[in-house]
Amino acid sequence: MATVDQAVRISAQTRSERLIRFITRTPIHFGLIAIAVIWLVPTVGLAITSFRKPNNIAATGWWHALTQWDWTLHNYGSVIHATGMGHAWVNSLIITLPATILPLTLGALAAFGFAWVPFPFRDTLFLAIIALMIVPIQTSLVPLLKLFRDWHLNSPHFGIGAFSFVGIWLAHTAFGLPLAVFLLRNFFITLPKDLIEAARMDGASNLAIFRRIVVPLSVPALASFAIFQFLWVWNDLLMALVFLAGQPDKAPMTVRIPYLLSTYGQEYNLLSAAAFLLMIVPLIVFFSLQRYFVQGLLAGSVKT
């Protein structure tokens, strides 16, 4: 389909028309570039700050670093080793990976049922899942905490560290599932019906159809949800605050950084390096998988 983009371009023909267009468009260029700069500068400032020497950070603004050469990696060494941020980075990963894989797996299985295997009350249940996407996490925090406490999931009761994470994995799984089911079901249902019927005729079981046909054909949708959920969990603060409370050695970066802020509030070198370490994972995901990332976000617009 022709786009607005092309339509605008076609309309400029003669030289004078182009000149007029250029002049009338100067404000557009100016406005766009100004906003893009405003949107970039705070992040760039933080990144530059994290590579400056501590006494320079305290004395002058980060923009002075553009004219005087004072780069150092020292802040990262300090923040990773001295403040335990390296450990927190690993915790973030330990929390995020299962909390992404679990809802992806359970969500894909359920979505396949909702899309291709009829069962009683299927449509009603699906509408209920759409409604659940909006439920605020706050309505679950207290009962979940009690439940995990009763099950000894969020205390180091078992003597095995990993058990502390089970609670937060389950909580993230539960709150990621409605979106997973919604998103994947809507994708699965667009797969060609003939293909699935033919496989059934050949005697393939539902599980085989799911594994051999549906999953391989749905990689883009699965990737979109996985990326969305990964970033959601990686960036989450509230659930980690609640479900890992009182266990500083289990805290992810999002919890560790506000703690750093309250104890080293003026030490911008540590804060900026820590924040940059937190950002770098989403940024890598964003720039390497931009297409899936945007798709996932667009699809996730029903969740918040």
């Binding site: 607005v4 949107w39 295997v117 249940l125 029903v302």
Partner: protein
Amino acid sequence: MGGSSRFGRFQGMLFASPALIVLGLFVIYPAYYTIRLAFYQGDFNFHFFHYLGLKNFKDLLTNDPDFLDTSKFHGFNIVKELVYKSDGGALINNVHWVIFYLSFSLIIGLGLAVLAVRVRYERAVKTAIFVPMAISATAVGIIWLFVYSPNPDTGLLNAIIHGFDNGFHPIAWVGRPSLVNYCLIFAYIWASVGFVMVVLSAAIKGIPAEIMEAARVDGAGEWNIFRRIMFPMLSLPISVVTVWLFVNVIKVFDIIYVMTSGGPGTSSRVIAFTMYEETFQNFSNTRGPGYGAAVAVIMLVLVAPVMVLNVRRFRSERVVT
């Protein structure tokens, strides 16, 4: 034909049941529990201790200046008071969030979407504006604390104003009750506009070029094309984005926790922050966890219309057969 036999019907349930069990156990049952707890005082083990009826809600709305300070309102011009009062408690702060966060995010996002398609460096501009979407609210908070720093040598905002006006006294942007909410709101707008822009931009590109061409041939100006063609055709995506922003703003917590912890004093609290504070931090009071549960129920009530809207919209699209 596994799909139609009785065994097949059972199988479908089998595929869905792990997800349904997790949802029932960790979303639906807890929501029921919280709603019930809101009518009790509760104790440290979150038991249904000491039934209070509606007292928690009544206290929240009439007897808790940190949540809703009714004494600040005189009732003559409620709209004006809502917009200008900056010390009306968490609920009023959240009203400010709704008004300013929604309107500015939509205006900036729509403006960017409309303008960016007209330049060759569209992709670069969009990337720059979208990047903050990927960053966690914790990092966004640190980034903006640097910008708002009261030190005129290191704080970007104070340094810029100082550059224009030498007699300017640096402002502690997030340290003033009258400014703190707007500073937080702007930081959050900064983080959200990319989403608005991308959704609306995708919608704009879906408008058939022939319609715009026809209008141009008929001599319509760019403004009229925007107002009479683009804007009406964008009404659905705009409503989707508005709903997203609204739910987002009812749940806003992280950025406030990181940047101000609800301060100075209690001046930047919002509903979600009150819920956290009353449930997990405020151990000295006699209200008990039921009070925090009541705040959570208020949040649920505020987003409930969105649930109904989403279900209705989905049904009307007849995707469910």
